[in-house]
Symmetry: C2
Subunit: 134 residues, 2 copies
């Protein structure tokens, strides 16, 4: 399939897909007319990239996981240890998001949403998170 189609199915802009090819993450076939030709498997990889990049993993980290995916001869212990360290990162990110969610909910609950100035809540954003231990 063409790049536009792959873009639709993966959720990545065509520009980004070409960029990923540039940096060697993916190597689609080429049709006779020179157009890139993406397989279903390529689209799966793109979708995986879309998800993991969107969640804050670097391209290099994604490259590791993709490499493991493609290199069947690699010991699965590699996969396991990489996945486990990523799981810790994910857990941490979720906790941080919950904290920010809490702060913002507090903000919404206490702001009046009318024309009154002096919304006192944003102060809690800067201070309330993790109080200075000093």
């Amino acid at each position: 399939m063409n790049i536009g189609n792959a873009s639709d199915k993966s959720g990545l802009p065509a520009k980004t897909i070409r960029y990923y090819e540039d940096i060697g993450l993916l190597k689609p076939d080429r049709a006779d007319n020179g157009y890139r030709d993406y397989s279903i498997s390529d689209v799966h990889k793109l979708r995986f990239l879309q998800r993991s990049r969107g969640l804050g993993f670097t391209v290099e980290e994604c490259r590791q996981l993709l490499a493991l995916y493609e290199d069947k001869s690699r010991a699965s212990a590699d996969v396991k240890s990489i996945a486990q360290s990523k799981l810790q990162e994910i857990e941490r990110k979720i906790v941080e998001l919950r904290e920010l969610q809490h702060t913002l909910k507090h903000l919404v609950a206490h702001c009046h949403g009318d024309q009154r100035p002096d919304c006192p809540i944003l102060e809690s954003i800067s201070g309330a998170a993790r109080p200075d231990p000093s």
Copy 2:
């Protein structure tokens, strides 16, 4: 306090703190010797930036929230609507992280962690997430 100190307390590298000043996010005082002099309030703002940037909000989004924080004459409805749209983004991010967490846990559970190749799990990464509706 000096930038090194502010860096320690905010968790942001000094380089990044100077960059934030460059782009107008923050304007610390200057001591007689030309050194930047950060107040407690500055550190609060830096910590807020550290948290929200680390969670994927753009610098421009952070600038909005900081601007609201500093401009008391602004109607609090602004704060409320911005915060609410951010809350939706946060909720979405948490859901995506949970999905990735699920996928990776599945991976860890089914990989043997020994020398055996042919770890069959990574296939689930690329395919299992959201099956192609076609």
